[in-house]
């Protein structure tokens, strides 16, 4: 009896598998290739760049993180560097990593076919997803995540509606509001539950001088409409974020855009058995990892929003670190310590500003947890009783 040829599955091998082709994954793949490693970069989308491909604004940061260049163009540059790079990256687009097996095999799916991939190291750079907010009728068509609005508008050139209510005055809410204006869409208001604007004030100033009010200490109570969003009821909240009776008002909008934060996409890490820790400042459950972006499973590294939600510039530097560390564990190179130290210095600077306090708090929690864990390990190895 002959086996159908298409049913024969070969075990593909690679040195480093990078899961996710956004800013973190691209930076990781580039560094690993530079160090002479064989890299397989996997992304479930048809394009590289992740969220960068919808960012029309010029980026902040320093020239090391492509400051002053629009996100869309950074994506092109990074993808171009990958093409013209010193080594070869085998690129697997439209490919989803379905799961991890205990023997270190990744199961990947492409064109409705699955195959196993056996990498020596894995870098998880899967990014993050939009958080939801509880309010009446939040399931009506027209309630969209900010990322979805960007995809529709900046990738496909389709406007989400005629008049938008933005929920959240963090950087994403402010930037997407500005992008909506650029696409010719009216923004009725930006609503923020906190007492202050969370995003950069220069982003806030850009939308404010276009006449968009930012209502702090406000929230959305309800979406109205039968089949689709036709309006929204907003109200003021007290310092405990409880709605204040009598302050409700209805705004006529056909889109409610949620920019209320992101949460790391960590399914793969969790399933692989990386130890996770809940850090609300970083968006939810994040993998424990050391300063080289190594998780509690020594052959799995993490970078970007999957490691904790922060800015894209930080994702790129974390990607570099993960790429260098993963490659460094396979190839010996004398420059590694210097390279890693330079990256860590970059990260430190990027997080040192007024808006970096949340990240700093979250990362401190992670660091302490890692330290405790190290002591615990030591205790176990020496057979001493733990306090």
């Amino acid at each position: 009896m002959r086996c159908k040829r298409e049913r024969v599955i070969f075990l593909q091998q690679t040195e480093i598998a990078v899961v996710g082709g956004g800013p973190a994954g691209l930076a990781a793949a580039l560094e690993a290739v530079k160090m002479g490693c064989q890299v397989t970069l996997i992304d479930r989308h048809a394009f590289l760049g992740g969220q960068l491909v919808k960012q029309t604004h010029k980026f902040f940061g320093s020239s090391k993180q492509y400051a002053g260049i629009r996100g869309i163009d950074i994506a092109k540059r990074l993808a171009g560097d990958l093409d013209s790079g010193p080594g070869k990256v085998s690129l697997e687009l439209n490919t989803t990593v379905l799961g991890y097996y205990d023997d270190g095999v990744l199961l990947v799916e492409k064109d409705e076919r699955v195959s196993p991939l056996f990498p020596e190291r894995i870098i998880v750079a899967t990014g993050a997803m939009e958080k939801m907010l509880l309010f009446r009728n939040n399931d009506l068509p027209g309630v969209y995540g900010a990322g979805a609005v960007q995809t529709l508008m900046n990738l496909y050139g389709v406007v989400p509606g005629c008049r938008v209510l933005m929920i959240g005055a963090g950087n994403i809410g402010l930037i997407v509001s500005y992008q909506l204006l650029q696409a010719g869409v009216e923004v009725a208001a930006i609503v923020e539950g906190d007492t202050r604007i969370g995003g950069y004030l220069v982003h806030a100033a850009k939308v404010q001088r276009s006449g968009i009010p930012i209502y702090t200490s406000h929230t959305i109570l309800e979406a109205t409409g039968e089949n689709c969003v036709e309006g929204a009821v907003i109200c003021q909240v007290d310092e405990k974020w409880q709605p204040l009776a009598g302050t409700e008002r209805e705004i006529a909008v056909d889109v409610i855009c949620l920019a209320v934060g992101l949460t790391p996409l960590t399914e793969l890490l969790r399933q692989a058995g990386c130890e996770m820790y809940y850090v609300p400042e970083l968006g939810g459950y994040v993998p424990l990892r050391d300063e080289n972006m190594q998780t509690t499973l020594p052959h799995i590294f993490v970078a970007g929003d999957a490691a904790g939600v922060e800015e894209a510039s930080i994702a790129m530097v974390e990607g570099k670190i993960a790429g260098i560390s993963a490659a460094g564990s396979l190839r010996s190179c004398t420059k590694i310590d210097g390279l890693l130290e330079a990256c860590r210095q970059e990260l430190h600077e990027l997080r040192a500003g007024d808006t970096g306090d949340k990240s700093r708090r979250g990362l401190e929690k992670l660091r302490k947890t890692m330290e405790k864990r190290k002591y615990a390990e030591k205790d176990e190895s020496t057979g001493l009783l733990r306090a």
């Binding site: 479930r44 989308h45 048809a46 029309t56 629009r70 869309i72 997803m129 939009e130 939801m132 399931d139 009506l140 068509p141 027209g142 309630v143 969209y144 995540g145 990322g147 979805a148 995809t151 529709l152 508008m153 900046n154 990738l155 496909y156 050139g157 389709v158 406007v159 989400p160 509606g161 005629c162 650029q182 696409a183 010719g184 089949n227 689709c228 996409l265």
Partner: protein, 104 residues
């Protein structure tokens, strides 16, 4: 509703594609997703929740949330927010959880 001019972006749309939504003929462009083409034609309610029959649209547009499941060319539970539009696609609102064994 499509953006014609944009201060930063230039949209290079592929060739025009015809497809049907619940039997109605619509047009979209090669290279875009089914959800984008539907949205451009003003279709925002993509389905109904299986239990309470509430209208559903997309939410994440990146294949995570499964709010946009539709029947495409007879196959149920297709995430239209990440599925490329193809010539002659038959796109339908699906009933309930969809019949995964259907072969029509």
């Amino acid at each position: 509703m499509r953006v014609i001019q944009h201060p930063i972006l230039h949209f290079q749309r592929g060739r025009e594609i015809k497809f049907t939504f619940n039997g109605r003929e619509l047009t979209g462009y090669e290279g875009e997703t089914i959800a984008a083409a539907l949205h451009a034609s003003g279709v925002r309610a993509l389905g109904h929740s299986p239990r309470l029959n509430r209208p559903r649209g997309f939410f994440c547009a990146t294949g995570n949330c499964s709010s946009c499941l539709m029947k495409v060319n007879g196959i149920a539970n297709v995430r239209v927010c990440i599925t490329p539009l193809q010539e002659g696609a038959v796109v339908e609102v699906q009933k309930g959880k969809g019949d995964i064994l259907a072969t029509d």
